[in-house]
Amino acid sequence: MKQVYSVPKSLRPVSTHYCPGCTHGIIHKLVAETIDELGVRDRAIGVASVGCSVFSYDYFDCDFQQAAHGRAPAVATGIRRTVPDAVVFTYQGDGDLASIGTAEIVHAAMRSENITVVFVNNAIYGMTGGQMAPTTMVGQRTTTSPEGRIKGLAGEPIRVSEMLATIPGATYVARVSTTSPAHIAKAKRAIKKAFEVQLAGGGFSLVECLSTCPTNWGMSPVEAMEWVDKNMIPYYPLGEFRTPEGGQTNG
């Protein structure tokens, strides 16, 4: 019998600490499959961030460094400059990248550091128990926006991909979703393309993955997926915002 599917080799055969219905597991798998398919596990160096993905080094079967909150792009820069043939990637959440780490991500893009950033946006601080993030939707209830995010007090959510796409050094920037098989297939293509840009020496690449947090959103996994489609995708449009060819695609 022909084997049509197996767990990627770059993912360790262990249980994760992620909550049921969380999409970190899907995104981990897509990154690990990409590393397998490109045959770069032995020169991959990942940088874990602070947040729910803090322990991602326990799941990816390659060298890793654990960075301080928001600093993964700076740590990745240090690695990039010292090991020229390494494949360097960061795995960061939205609290990490879009709040405390805005300076580091903007300037890594400006320098066009030849790294790949996997940016997981679930519109909330998950690890610390569901506080408001810069990416939290207006009206979304969190433990620090009990009446919902109020535009006049906390502003409107930051669109990281669109912001980074204005930077000349950002070679590849895409936003994908993980809420359906079709979306996941597109997400895989974007992540693989981002790593291919790095392998070609093309410079900075980032894939923003819209993700769920059923636990802190107070929803079932299915409801959470539907909430992404209904509330996040209209505000955070999917597509490629920068490509090496210079094109943009939406949807």
Binding site: R41, D42, R43, A44, I45, V47, V54, Y57, D61, C62, D63, F64, Q65, Q66, A67, A68, R71, A74, V75, A76, T77, G78, I79, R80, R81, T82, V83, D85, A86, V87, A103, E104, V106, H107, R111
Partner: protein, 355 residues
Amino acid sequence: MAGRKLFKGNEAVAEAAVRAGCRYFFGYPITPQNEIPEYMSRRLPEVGGAFVQAESEVAAINMVYGAAGTGARVMTSSSSPGISLKQEGISYIAGADLPCLIVNMVRGGPGLGGIAPAQSDYFQATRGGGHGDYHLIVYAPASVQEMVDLTLGAYDVAERYRMPVMILGDGVLGQMMEPVSFPDQMAPDRPAPEWATRGARDGRTPRLINSIYLKPEELYKHNLDMAERFEKASANEVRYEEVLADDAELLLVAYGTTSRVCRAAIEKLRERGIKAGLFRPITVSPFPYDALSKRAKSAKAVLTVEMSMGQLVDDVKIAVAGAAPVHFFGTTGGVIPKASDIAEYAAGIVGEEVR
């Protein structure tokens, strides 16, 4: 050693780091240390290394973390407000057991303070500086040549104990020119350490650079291990210098730039028939407690002189432990003490206690 050349302190410490094998520098501009990044930006490409001007001190020190985690010899430098910003990364680097070289050309504080030389970062440098249970190995050179010599050995020490080494200078040491000599040879290339993350090649098990230990008993164990390594450094790496200390009834204690002024003060005091000597810590962390304790027993009084409102004096009191009265003469805000003022103050002590 080749012939002596006139070198500015900041450029000398940079060249010494290169001779010691430093190939990567991550920094951010701040006065009075700008000649260090400027020098590295032209020097490192010549030796196959890389210079990155980071977006902030915070980013620079985290680049140091990443590069140090690959086993590279890496350096950053700054001055007081910038070193405060770097404390986040310094704590993580210490927590992840990574060697690196950090230079602080201290200026007056707190806050933006001034750009004139000071020694008011002593507590920060010798007590870890950032959050958590750790120490750095901190050298306090008193001349450009000594700064070069200490820097030449800094990476070996940092790698032996797997902790950051700091050169604690000040605006005077960074800005003044003195004749220095460097070794002709560069430090030989060395293989990547067995903990370095450079890709899990040839089937080896993946490695992790990390400072997180969520189980209290694991963090306990890790912190004990760090403390043991610092204990070993305390046993092996402590350095100090004594000047006319054998018969000193009045023992001055000072480090760095201030120790040079104290030498002149001692001359003045000796001319007046007062037996004054100097104890100069070269490592301020680990501090030469035992040596100073021993020396203080033969003195009638101890005088700590520093460019701060009283930081080194705490370590002096720990070392002297009541064996002699410990006096304090400090200048602050970027003011360098005058030898005549120190001598005057010292003579007053002698009038009260030595005679």
